[in-house]
Amino acid sequence: MSGESATSTNPGLSNSGSTKPLETGRLSRLLQRSEAARGFSLLSPTLLIMFIGVAVPFGILIVMSFWTQLGFNFDTSLTLANYESFGERAIYGALLKRSLWMSSAATIATVLLCYPMAYFVAFHIHRNKMIWIVLITLPFWTSYLLRVFAWKVVLGYEGVINSALMHLGLIKAPLEFLLYSQSAVVITLAHAWAAFAILPMYVSLEKIDKSLLEAATDLGDGPVRRFFRITLPLSLPGVISASLLIFIPTTGDYITPALLGGPDGAMIGNLIQKQFGAINNWPMGATLSIILMLSIATIALVFMFATNFVRKRIS
């Protein structure tokens, strides 16, 4: 309803029958005069929902990270106990480090594997580009759980790969390292996020002015030099956003490690989930979530700073 009065260009008509004509009149006049006010009133329902659903819960999560668990209740006096136990118990730090490492590996693999595909669609597809884009991004929209589950079927102890290889007589016993390992998690993460990685890289490759490439060729650059001196530097913004778009969400993933990771492949997300489930120490779970967010934010900032620096050096 706020939308109708917000876009009101003829307040007398649209608000007829209102109980407080004077007040709505004043409101409409403000809305008419100020573009920002109109914009805000259209945006306000969304912002309100996001505030209640994101900002407030985050605030409470931060507060809770300073509480402690007392049986089934919380001790709400503020202490740093959880943060201290994060420092003391090596398992927490080790899991966090492993998560960051595994999602870095998945990010690098995804970006390297997706870049040629984005390049192909941007430079070598001339008709029906949209079909290609839809085809590539289609899996991303469908159930994450089921795509991870599909990899369990493929990599399983008696799964597709092992049983096919055994059936063909290439191996005698199933390859055990396929499932329940870090590599299984990294493969699955890379596959699951591929669709997401291609879009930003495609957009920045598509933006490149083709006459620059022609100029480079005219001035004697071969295809390889042309790629490294023009295409790659100009597409770096896309590569950077793709990297962040994969790295940030995968660090907190817990479905993939839970289904495919086994004990070696567990990530910090699994531990957070356990704190809110079986272990039932919510304040510790809140602390781990905050630490995870802080580490992600720090790495993302350092990464952006570093790539900015490199880009300035190049150009």
């Binding site: 945006l43 580009k129 079927v153 669709a195």
Partner: protein, 273 residues
Amino acid sequence: MSSQSYIHRPNRPLQVYAAIFLIVLYVPVLFLPLFSFNDSIYVKFPLKGFTTQWYVELFHREPVWAALMNSVKVGVTTSLIATGLGVFAAKAITRYRIPGRGPLVGFIMLPLVVPGIIFGVALLVLLSQMGIPLSLYTVTIGHVIVCLPFAIATMIPRFEGFDPSVEEASADLGENAWWTFWRVTFPIVFPGILASLLLTFTVSFDEFIMAFFLSGSDPTLPMYIWGQLRFPKEFPSILAMASIILLASFILVFIGQWINRDAQSKTLANEEE
């Protein structure tokens, strides 16, 4: 630029790579339907024989239907709310100069990037502190937050793609805001709204992480599947269920993207400038 230009010479290795890429993207998922018709409870080669018994069994299972109905209820509510809010938000973002627009849009788009588990536990903590019991309603709240960025991102190209002077003309000719919206804006952005409804429904229908933390005693379909994963003998029926869900999702998303394709290709082309 002609496609015969030396820069656009067909690149054979790259074409092969693209073909392999698409195959690898789709094949793991295609094993699910393949084995769902296999006459064995073990998911392994060689295939035993063709059967539809897993689908028949699924059809007769009460909890599956209950979970399906839960997911549909949550999905429909979520897509209506997210799309309804998204229309106004997309209009505000594209049409008006708002101070602090960049950070605000960044804030709204956060759920696309921040790990789902963080949103899940944060909302869980809020709800429990407020004493609100977990139910399908709380799942819907979580899904609206996850789906809003998708709805807005789907509709922004629509609003960018049409000339604001059409709306101004309608206002100048004496139509009030309400009717301008219904008779001018709505028909033009309608494909975007339809696409957004389909896409957000699919995202909600398939969403697992929020549902994991915010579900009460009524499971959504992904939650039900998660629960069944523990039992090896349920594997084939999960395969059958997964195949149906994936097929339905692919169709819905494809239709959604297809309806909105001209707006999307326009934005992609605009960004070229």
